[in-house]
């Protein structure tokens, strides 16, 4: 009986350790996804910022002339893709 109790107790301890590992792994995955996503958003925002600035500088002269109409073409702007291509 005592032996059995020890076996069950050990199994419970082993189960707890496995549970922790699973939780740690899942948490790490979520955290790294969060970090990766944040980086993606960071690069996306800043790339767009730079691209818009470039477009603005190119088009400001045209826009400043009468009768001209300037539209920004955003098709070539970087797309937001959190999980990469």
């Amino acid at each position: 009986m005592k032996f059995l109790k020890n076996r069950v107790g050990r199994a419970r301890q082993i189960g707890k350790g496995a549970q922790s590992s699973l939780e740690l792994a899942a948490s790490l995955v979520v955290i790294f996804i969060l970090l990766f996503g944040s980086l993606q958003v960071f690069f996306w925002v800043n790339k767009r910022l730079v691209q818009r600035q470039k477009d603005y500088e190119v088009q400001r002269v045209t826009a400043g002339n009468s009768g001209s109409e300037v539209k920004v073409d955003e098709t070539n702007y970087p797309k937001l893709n959190i999980f990469g291509q």
């Binding site: 740690l24 955290i31 980086l39 800043n46 826009a63 009468s66």
Partner: protein, 681 residues
């Protein structure tokens, strides 16, 4: 609880062999990384906003400048178009050399009088609206990015533009908003319209509703939509109760500046009002905003601006004194002298029954020079000669008429425009090509006139030397020794020792030919049998005229030099006029905005000439009416704090602008002509 929180999130959890708290700690680290990313993005975004804002302001400033310059060129071009069907050049052929004498004053009048007329007269509204429209376009472009509502920016630019276009007009009654763009309404209607969101501008208790929608430039709209606002002075004003009055006051201070200065300062005001976000305020002890309250506060910038405007205007009385001395002293004196010598004057005799005293001016048709020229028939007496007596007399006549007209012009307007017309008096570019002709000015033209007059002298002397010598005799009295009947005097030849030689023999076989030269004087000669010398006085009169012209030339040089030297004193004061720098300190640190306007030129007319003889062509030509961006530009340099600790209480959150010098420099270039305006790369 704090202890428990510390245990959960302590970095020691990563080192210790504890199963709990490790994820939370890693999460905290990730959040720190994310916060750094956000701070970097915000910093970069702020930099982008500032850069874009500065670009827009530079563009709007350049457009404003170009718009005003083009509007001015358009005024003069319109005047030329009306006069001769050509907006750039009005030419007249066959006027001979003398035509130039009047044409130069005409060129000055084309600048001053025309601008005055358009500013004060029936075209006043046009001038205001030309300025308004230019300012509005620039203001709209700049406002879009700076977060200021586009229409508001347009109004702001328009107010500055109106200050330029109708500066003289404003002096009489604020903005003179009788134009179609603004509809005057009652105060109640104005308040109602304002509440409904319409743009209303107040002039005292009189309200004006803007009835035109202004479309911003696409660039402004694009950037304006994407990026949020950085504060601007106008926004700061909006937060106050006295916003409109304060900004109106700043714009109104432009009134009364010299024309050239007003163009520059209007652009600087436009730039500063869209870039300066100085939160500091001063008590309005001078009531700069004109609301009658000297206890309220206005932006510190307004006091800087008022000081700058006062400094610029401080020089005007000195310039006016010099201008008045020339146009109401020197010019009329010389003109009156010429007028007197062109005409025959008649004054009452000294006694009651004495005949009137008639004085023939020596440039009159019965004057000394004409009389001699008529008798000797030198080349300059031929009216087809471009340097003829008739041609130069005609030029002087035109000069006196136009001098009277320009002398009646308001001195303040003449002073205000001095930089544009003064080159017609003295221009260092004289002789250089301008179109197909060459530039000339009054100083050098008068030098040519003097040469022509000296040539007259030479021709008279040559003709005189070709004459036969006068036969001189003695006046004999026949009253005695011939029966006492019909006595009288007669000029008799005499070879005896007691001959007086005081007459020219007119009768008998030895009669003298007339005109003849008098050998008793160096260049003397007589045109009749009276022994009086008529040729020497004519030569003396030519000398007198040459000396008078030399004196007038010296006065011209003095006038030009005095004006330039007096104005040059401004360049060193007030921390420099161009570029102008405004600095302030706020909770973020020290900031400064340096704005510089290019070496723009105001449209003006010059007088040019070509050809010779009666085929000579004289033109009044519009110059400096266009620019490709070489001189019409605005450069703005903004300096913000760098490596500034971003703190929350005593805790430092990081550095602001750690990898950035804090300096942003942007330049906007504009191109314009009398009929177009635009930006240029």
């Amino acid at each position: 609880m704090i202890s428990n929180f510390y245990k959960k999130f302590s970095l020691n959890n990563l080192q210790n062999d504890k199963p709990s708290g490790q994820i939370a700690t890693i999460l905290i680290l990730v959040i720190v990384v994310v916060l750094i990313l956000i701070l970097t993005t915000v910093n970069l975004g702020q930099l982008s906003i500032s850069t874009t804002n500065l670009s827009n302001v530079a563009d709007s400033g350049a457009l404003t400048l170009a718009s005003q310059l083009a509007a001015r060129a358009n005024q003069i071009a319109g005047s030329l178009q009306t006069s001769c069907g050509n907006p750039i050049e009005c030419c007249q052929s066959g006027g001979g050399f003398g035509g130039l004498l009047g044409a130069i004053i005409g060129a000055i009048i084309a600048i001053v009088i025309v601008v005055v007329t358009w500013g004060w007269g029936a075209y006043g509204a046009f001038a205001i609206m030309a300025g308004f429209a230019g300012g509005a376009v620039g203001g709209a472009a700049g406002a879009a990015i700076s977060g200021t509502p586009i229409l508001q920016g347009a109004i702001q630019g328009g107010m500055i533009g109106a200050a330029i276009g109708g500066a003289a007009y404003m002096g009489a009654g604020a903005f003179g908003m009788e134009s179609a763009l603004f509809t005057p309404v009652t105060a109640a209607e104005g308040l109602g319209a304002q509440a409904a969101g319409s743009t209303v501008i107040w002039e005292g208790s009189q309200a004006y509703i803007l009835s035109t929608t202004l479309i911003p430039s696409a660039a402004g709209a694009v950037a304006g939509g994407a990026l949020s606002a950085s504060a601007s002075l106008y926004n700061a004003y909006v937060a106050d109760q006295n916003q409109a009055a304060a900004f109106t006051a700043a714009a109104r201070m432009l009134n009364g500046l010299l024309d050239y200065d007003r163009y520059r300062e209007s652009v600087l005001l436009q730039v500063f009002s869209q870039t300066v976000d100085d939160p500091n305020k001063d008590i309005d002890v001078d009531d700069l905003n004109g609301n009658g309250d000297i206890t309220d506060k206005v932006s510190h910038f307004l006091y800087y601006w008022a000081g700058r405007m006062s400094y610029l205007k401080g020089i005007i009385p000195s310039l006016q004194t010099i201008t008045s001395s020339f146009f109401q002293g020197v010019l009329p004196t010389f003109s009156n002298y010429i007028t007197k010598e062109l005409n025959v004057t008649e004054e009452p005799g000294l006694g009651y029954e004495d005949p009137p005293i008639i004085t023939n001016g020596y440039l009159s048709q019965s004057g000394t020079i004409a009389t001699v020229a008529q008798a000797l028939n030198p080349a300059f007496w031929n009216p087809e000669n471009e340097k003829s007596f008739a041609s130069i007399v005609s030029g002087f006549e035109t000069f006196t008429v136009l001098a009277a007209e320009i002398g009646a012009t308001d001195i303040s307007r003449l002073t205000s425009n001095w930089q544009t017309y003064i080159k017609n008096f003295y221009n260092e570019d004289t002789g250089q090509a301008e179109g197909e002709n060459t530039v000339t000015d009054y100083y050098h033209l008068l030098e040519e006139v003097k040469g022509n007059l000296a040539d007259w002298k030479t021709q008279i002397i040559n003709k005189r030397n070709q004459l036969a010598s006068c036969k001189l005799g003695t006046t004999m009295d026949f009253s005695f020794g011939f029966g006492g009947g019909e006595g009288g005097t007669s000029c008799q030849s005499c070879s005896g020792p007691f001959c007086l030689n005081d007459c020219i023999i007119s009768d008998g076989p030895e009669a003298s030919p007339i005109p003849c030269k008098l050998d008793t004087t160096i260049n003397g000669g007589s045109l009749d049998y009276n022994i009086n010398d008529e040729i020497t006085p004519a030569l003396n009169d030519v000398d007198t005229l040459i000396n008078k012209i030399s004196g007038f030339q010296s006065d011209i040089l003095s006038y030009v030099t005095n004006m330039e030297n007096t104005y040059a004193a401004l360049q060193t004061g007030y921390g420099g006029l161009n570029p102008a720098t405004y600095s302030w300190t706020d909770s973020r640190g020290e900031h400064s905005i340096k704005a510089q306007v290019g070496n723009y030129q105001l449209a003006r007319t010059v007088t040019t000439k070509s050809g010779g003889g009666w085929s000579k062509t004289i033109c009044v030509r519009l110059v400096d009416y266009s620019d490709n961006g070489a001189n019409s530009w605005v450069e703005i340099t903004r300096q913000d704090p760098t490596n500034k600790d971003v703190k929350s209480g005593r805790v430092s959150l990081g550095l602001w602008n750690p990898f950035f010098s804090g300096t942003i420099k942007k330049k906007g270039k504009s191109s314009y002509s009398w009929d177009r305006v635009g930006l240029t790369p």
